[in-house]
């Protein structure tokens, strides 16, 4: 992994209001509108400093709460390479697939990560290496992988409609 990538580490139950405050839900819809408010009430440094290739580590139930998709859309737009968490809330899980954002459910990797550890992610192999420990994560079922690999559900739907 490139040394320039930053790992952002958060705790359990990171909810949708922390990821993107509800008060902006009906005024910010595009990636450019969403980006400055990402994680605003959780970590004011995130939106300022996040860059493509960064990875988020988190505990259980990441993305719980609202069905608002701005968190998934925004995190994909700023170039988050993957979110590695112990578990994800289900609406967020779908939203991420639909935005083409990679989620990795791997509690062991989250427990193994400490600040400053090197992180190496091999998506093809389904492997995440933290310092010298290798952890495997399951790949998605083919039906779902097709959506993510198309770049998200809208692209997938466009391709399907065009057939």
């Amino acid at each position: 992994m490139q040394n320039s990538s930053t790992i952002w580490k958060y705790g359990n139950d990171i909810n949708t209001d922390m990821l993107f405050p509800g008060k902006y839900t009906y005024t910010c819809s595009t990636a450019e509108e969403i980006k400055p408010h990402l994680l605003e009430d959780l970590d004011p440094n995130f939106a300022k400093n996040v860059k493509p290739g960064d990875i988020i580590f988190a505990g259980t139930n990441f993305g719980c709460g609202s069905s608002r998709e701005q968190p998934a859309l925004g995190l994909r737009a700023v170039g988050i390479k993957a979110i590695v968490a112990k578990s994800f809330a289900r609406i967020f899980y779908r939203a991420a697939i639909n935005q083409g954002l990679l989620l990795i459910e791997c509690p062991e990797a989250v427990d193994a990560y400490t600040e400053g550890a090197s992180v190496d992610l091999d998506i093809e192999k389904g492997e995440i290496k933290i310092d010298d420990s290798i952890f495997h994560f399951p790949t998605l079922p083919p039906e779902i992988l097709a959506i993510r690999d198309a770049g998200g559900l809208l692209e997938y739907t466009r391709q399907k409609l065009a057939q």
Partner: protein, 420 residues
Amino acid sequence: MRKTFAEKLLAIKAGLNEVVPGQIVTVKPEHLLTHDNTAAIIGKIEDELNQYGVVNPALSVIVLDHVVPAANEKTAANHKKIREFVKRHGIKHFYDAGEGICHQVTIEKGLAIPGTIIVGSDSHTCSYGALGVFSTGIDRTEAAALMLTGETWLKVPQSIKITLSGEFKFPVTAKDLVLQIIGDIKADGANYCAVEFHGDIHNLSIEDRITIANMGVEMGAKVAVFPVDELTEEYLEGIDVVRGSYEKIWADADAEYLCELRYDLSKLEPVVAKPHTVDNLAKMEEVEGIPIDQCLVGTCTNGRIGDIEIAATILNGKKVHPDVRLLILPASRSIYNEAIEKGYFKLLSQAGAIILPPGCGPCLGAHMGVLAPGEKCLSTANRNFKGRMGCKEAEIFLASPATVAVSAVEGKITDPRNKV
């Protein structure tokens, strides 16, 4: 045999003999719910809508409720865009600002039919489980794709069985039960799962069931569902849904569950969810006496006539504490009208409450009733996340309508058992 509600319903809907948890199935939901976010949804697929149109004008249920009446130019423009879309594509089920909160309106208009699938770009779409509907929240992008194709995928969930016995002892109500369950199993306790309610269901009104199903998502559930019983059938008949016109799908007695829980309703106590998570449960002794600045009775969780009746009865002849603003937020126009007819709004207004139009606004900090830094709100809503009511330095406590109404008079969190 040995099948859960979710396994049976999804097998039928997917046209398969049987399905097992973890299996991915393709389904065509009967309805797709969207609200003010319809503007953003159609904005994603303008070219496709021009080229292909919507797949079915009867699929969408669109209710303007989140920021109503419009708060500013941007939200007004969103509403206008949605009205134009509705006309252009002949959307059959459209309810404009003032009709109510989408979940209540969908139920009242007879669109939440037992045995059907409803998906909605709102996390509290799980509310219709109260009527035996497989209903769950999705994101905007998925709603956009559904408008074009009418189908989506669902993973067959594992199920959790919660068996209820006995009756509530007022002022303990359904809200106390669901807060207790979430406090026990935590915010991710039912993640990806279907939660089935069994046992003495006949002791729970339809309103109680909606309150409980509504908060299914706060324990992570995909669906939270009740069996269709005589009460359900009577309720549906009252809103012109003919008996026998729907499927009464329910789990087999020997179905397999991920886990089973039991609650004796007569033994429950009033409880409060403390900031900033719904599972941060407290007994009254722990929170009693905390001064509050704002109270909210209403929302899709507790904005039905029974909830307003409780507040009006408690506030009758009393005054809201001078340091408190009490907001009343009915869930629909029909509830609003009934509250006028029954005199509840007069009692509440005379007591010093502020009656708001039906809608979602304050609950998510989108419109009206926003909190200031350092303020505390006691609310009957379903979420108390940091920043939820528009201010990250404010605190939200969740409780039942009885607890909120009693506390509004006292100016501090108060055990309703001592006052009613």
